[in-house]
């Protein structure tokens, strides 16, 4: 048995920076590199791309990420785990093998499937959010169950260099290699909870290293332009020390670790993943050196009998129009502009929102009692059943140029297809996961 396992976080969301993962692979001494690239809605959007082209539907940055990483993985003996398979993990696996062939790098990719449960969804089932039947929301696009670490274990045992999945609970992507390395049992709940807390701390990558934390003068973070991504050195009991690569930007402190530990946790006493119900209230954090924080003490209480399923549905289109006003009475001119739009088309849409960017657009009001911004940007947004209808709001805002208040400038108009997400539960026995291998070697080519 090894002394410590080092797992690194090479991406915290689909659009994350590319180079920190390469730094971890090259100079981080990591055993495993995890790329978390699949947000709540990302998989539904990927499903739409797969409908248009059956060879797509995986993460749009897959090629760019893997072209730089594959040679480094091989050279430094790093295994990669990622959910960038999105709506089409098999196609993602094949795309990675194609890149390896191009680079003449032998590779074995294990693809984990089974999260796509659209065929198992009962449209009359009530959602967790509203107690409304799923079918009432709109035409369904996707339904993906959050798989746990157990779905990844056969892929890890296959000896694959790269493991690709679709929807897997984010912390499970990290728990899986740890449980595999130390041969933990699936009911060793305290250890599973410890690794879950580590996975949760790492899953947003840069957010543990001062990303999304900084505030000049109050919460200083050094060299954010070169923010390092984090790793954890984990022992066989599930205790860990967080760190980042020497010479990278950012910082790991008690404060950054606390913010990330609590991030998006709806119950710190019962954080539910497919693997375990983890109690984070028992976690202790201790700074053991510069950019080093020790994590221990999470406790586990069994695992849930059902898995959460994210269901994506068509939610129509959102149209937006924007225009800016500056100088004397900018606010009153912007308000008048909004009122004109409301009078002209307000009744035509089920939902319309008028924002004054620079004052009240984020929080509905300003907490600053002397709120008189020098400039303000009007934004009008509507929901519409078609793209054509949604476009009308942008056209109306644009027409304020010659028909609206004085000195409006810089109009923009946007239309975007909307995918809504609701959740339901599915018994774990009904979800069958598989592992499919795809590989390339020089011998295979010769044969």
């Amino acid at each position: 048995m090894r002394e410590l396992l080092r797992v690194g976080a090479g991406a915290g969301f689909s659009g994350d920076r590319l180079e920190p993962a390469a730094v971890l692979a090259q100079r981080g001494g990591v055993d495993y590199l995890i790329l978390e690239c699949l947000g709540e809605r990302t998989v539904a959007l990927a499903q739409l791309r797969k409908h248009r082209d059956p060879t797509r539907g995986y993460d749009p940055l897959l090629e760019r990420r893997m072209e730089s990483l594959l040679p480094l993985l091989r050279r430094h003996g790093v295994r990669l785990i990622s959910n960038l398979g999105a709506a089409n993990p098999i196609a993602a696996g094949e795309a990675i093998v194609a890149i390896a062939r191009e680079q003449q790098t032998p590779i074995r990719v294990a693809v984990v499937t089974g999260d796509d449960v659209l065929a198992l969804i009962d449209p009359d089932e009530l959602t967790l959010e509203g107690g409304t039947p799923i079918a009432a929301y709109g035409e369904l696009v996707s339904a993906n169950a959050y798989l746990g670490a157990d779905a990844l274990l056969p892929a890890l045992q296959s000896g694959a260099d790269v493991i690709i999945t679709g929807r897997v609970a984010d912390p499970s992507l990290f728990l899986a290699p740890i449980a595999h390395a130390y041969d933990w049992q699936v009911d060793d709940f305290d250890r599973l909870a410890c690794a879950t807390s580590i996975g949760h701390l790492l899953e947003c990558a840069g957010q543990l290293c001062g990303g999304y934390y900084a505030e000049p003068g109050r919460k200083e973070v050094p060299d954010m332009a070169h923010l390092g991504f984090p790793f954890a050195d984990v022992d066989a009991r599930g205790n860990a020390t967080l760190g980042k690569v020497e010479g990278t930007g950012g910082c790991i402190t008690l404060a950054t670790a606390k913010e990330q530990l609590l991030y998006e946790v709806t119950d710190p006493f019962a954080y539910v993943t497919p693997d375990v119900v983890a109690d984070f209230s028992t976690v202790t954090l201790r700074e053991t050196g510069p950019n080093r924080v020790e994590v221990r003490g999470a406790t586990g209480k069994g695992r849930p009998p059902k898995l959460k399923v994210s269901v994506g549905y068509h939610a129509g289109y959102v149209g937006e129009g924007e225009i800016s006003y500056g100088g004397v009475n900018a606010m009153s001119r912007a308000r008048l502009a909004g009122e004109i739009i409301r009078q002209r088309i307000g009744k035509e849409f089920s939902e319309m929102r008028i924002d004054l960017i620079g004052s009240t657009s984020l929080h509905g009001r300003s907490f600053n009692p002397r709120d008189q911004p020098y400039e303000v940007r009007l934004r009008v947004a509507v929901r519409a059943p078609t793209a054509e209808r949604a476009m009308v709001v942008g056209e109306e805002v644009e027409a304020l140029y010659t028909n609206g208040p004085a000195a409006g400038g810089g109009t923009r108009k946007y239309v975007q297809e909307q995918i809504g997400i609701v959740s339901t539960l599915l018994e774990r026995e009904r979800i069958a996961t598989q592992v499919t291998l795809r590989e390339w070697s020089r011998d295979a080519q010769a044969a």
Binding site: E129, A255, K258, D267, S281, S361, F367, A381
Partner: protein, 100 residues
Amino acid sequence: MPKLHDLAHCRAGDKGNTSILSVIAYRPEDYPLLVERVTVDAVARHLEGIVLGDIRRYELPGLGALQFVCERSLSGGVTTSLAQDAHGKSLSYALLEMNV
């Protein structure tokens, strides 16, 4: 009157239509003051019009932190809201405006 911003830092997260706001004391000795002043009622008053549903508060003395789970706070939820900041990511700094 000090603002929450003087005593604590905060990060906002989201799950559906629920906003999750952490309040973390910079200095452990300020934690009891946060427990006393940053109550569910005080947060509900401060975020009136933003948080439309129930608020739950969790106390985490080991971390010197409070966690607020605020239902019906994101205009219907991340995926169907017309708001610019559909995740409510900026709400952490609305909470830090609170007088304590």
